[in-house]
């Protein structure tokens, strides 16, 4: 394992991207960052700019307006980075599958610009913070 991946596992900084979620997953992500779960124990930190991020927490099924923004945010994230699809919508558009304005899901949009992107899925509507921690740990140990 190279030192780049080793250090990435030790301090994954996350950036939160909402691509048209109903806000439920966002609230759960905010829950994840509260003192109760204290993810800073693992070096996980919420950062304000995609250029600082190692992981994107994407919620929502990607609306037509959000798709170009999502691609731009992904390009602005320095590689190596991991994309986390948080919630049913981000994983597979969820209840909005037949929506006229939906161009997602997230992995399709990301793979259009980077076929080798590392993408992890945390399903649920919304997923519990425990599920997100479990997903992040599994994804990072698979790197």
């Amino acid at each position: 394992m190279s030192w780049k991946i080793w250090s990435l596992k030790k301090s994954p900084w996350v950036f939160h991207v909402n691509t048209g979620a109903c806000n439920n997953c966002d609230i759960e992500i905010v829950d994840l960052l509260t003192p109760k779960f204290d993810v800073e124990r693992f070096g996980i930190k919420l950062v304000g700019s995609p250029r600082h991020a190692d992981a994107l927490l994407v919620t929502g099924g990607v609306t037509a307006q959000a798709a170009p923004r999502l691609r731009e945010v992904y390009r602005q994230t320095p590689k190596p980075c991991v994309v986390f699809c948080i919630g049913a919508c981000a994983c597979d558009k969820g209840i909005f599958t037949t929506g006229y304005h939906m161009v997602g899901p997230v992995d399709k949009i990301i793979k259009e610009i980077d076929p080798n992107a590392i993408i992890a899925y945390v399903p649920g509507c919304p997923p519990k913070p425990e599920a997100m921690i479990s997903g992040i740990v599994k994804a990072l140990s698979a790197l």
């Binding site: 204290d38 304000g48 700019s49 190692d54």
Partner: protein, 313 residues
């Protein structure tokens, strides 16, 4: 030749880069750990700041398309150089009592260098968020710089016009009314210099998305993080030297010196954790009006005390 080697050793290894960077990363772990304990959390492991820097060094460097490339990349290096010189000079004075006349003025200039480099680098990044952060940082520098210099003027008057750090460090100026006022104001100025809450409006993660540092990624960001960590060593050390009597001539100077340093660090962390972020206009008003008036009174008291030989004034 040996003198040049000795100088290089001072700058790169012992009190300079390697030592100060390690100590700074440890100090920034203390900041995060104590903040976590205040919020009833467990907090990060000891090596967390080290992991962060190593990780950032291994990532891809992105430079914005419209950025002024050379300035954008050079700015963090200039900032690091400034704080490196500052910390080497201060440690040398603290440990070996060697100093030159006017080094307090040199130190004041070197302390501004990281802020100026930050202003240059972020304004070269062509980002609107960074532009707002830059303008706030500039106003903040103008705000606290006046108070900081006035606080040092109080000390210089109290020591009878000494401009030599080793001579200033002979007496603990904070053990008097004017010295205490100057020390408290200088502590708040250091808080602003470190970009800690309540004076973190230039970075302001929740409103500007880390403002001045927004466009930096990977290695340049790692250099900024190192610069900030080293500032966390150099600035409290400078306060110890100027106000609290340095490492002193007590039987165990190192223990005393580290105790004073930890005291200042804890004060900074407690201020950080018990205050909300100020607006930039509030911060400028605070430094210019309230701190300015307090320091003017302190200067008058110090002058009277010095002229009539009243040490506690």
């Amino acid at each position: 030749m040996t003198e040049a080697l000795q100088g290089l050793f001072w700058i790169i290894i012992f009190p300079g880069f390697l030592f100060t960077a390690c100590l700074g990363l440890f100090a920034s772990w203390i900041v995060r750990k104590v903040s976590a304990l205040v919020q009833w959390r467990v907090g990060p492991p000891v090596l967390q700041p080290f992991y962060d820097v190593v990780k950032l060094l291994g990532k891809e460097v992105l430079v914005p398309q419209d950025a002024q490339r050379a300035v954008f990349i050079a700015a963090p290096v200039v900032g690091l150089a400034g704080v490196l010189l500052l910390s080497t000079m201060l440690w040398r004075t603290a440990l070996t009592q060697t100093a030159f006349i006017g080094d307090i003025i040199v130190a004041i200039y070197l302390m501004v260098l990281p802020s100026l480099a930050l202003i240059l680098g972020s304004s070269a990044s062509a980002s609107p968020h960074a532009a707002v952060g830059t303008s706030r940082e500039m106003k903040l520098v103008m705000g606290y710089e006046l108070s900081l210099v006035m606080a040092f003027v109080v000390v210089v008057i109290k020591t009878g016009g000494q401009l030599n750090l080793a001579a200033i460090a002979q007496q603990a100026s904070a053990l008097s009314i004017s010295g205490m006022v100057a020390f408290l104001v200088a502590l708040l100025c250091v808080q602003a210099k470190l970009g800690f809450v309540p004076f973190d409006m230039a970075e302001a993660e929740t409103e500007l998305g880390s403002g001045v540092l927004m466009e930096y990624s990977a290695a340049p960001l790692a250099i900024w993080k190192l610069t900030q960590a080293m500032m966390l060593v150099a600035l409290p050390l400078f306060l110890v030297m100027v106000f609290l009597g340095g490492f002193g001539n007590a039987p165990m100077p190192l223990v005393w010196g580290i105790g004073k340093y930890v005291l200042i660090l804890v004060l900074l962390i407690l201020i950080k954790n018990t205050n909300p972020r100020m607006r930039i206009d509030q911060a400028m008003k605070f430094f210019w009006v309230y701190c300015g008036i307090a320091l003017a009174v302190a200067i008058i008291l110090a002058t009277i005390g010095n002229n009539y030989g009243i040490n506690w004034l």
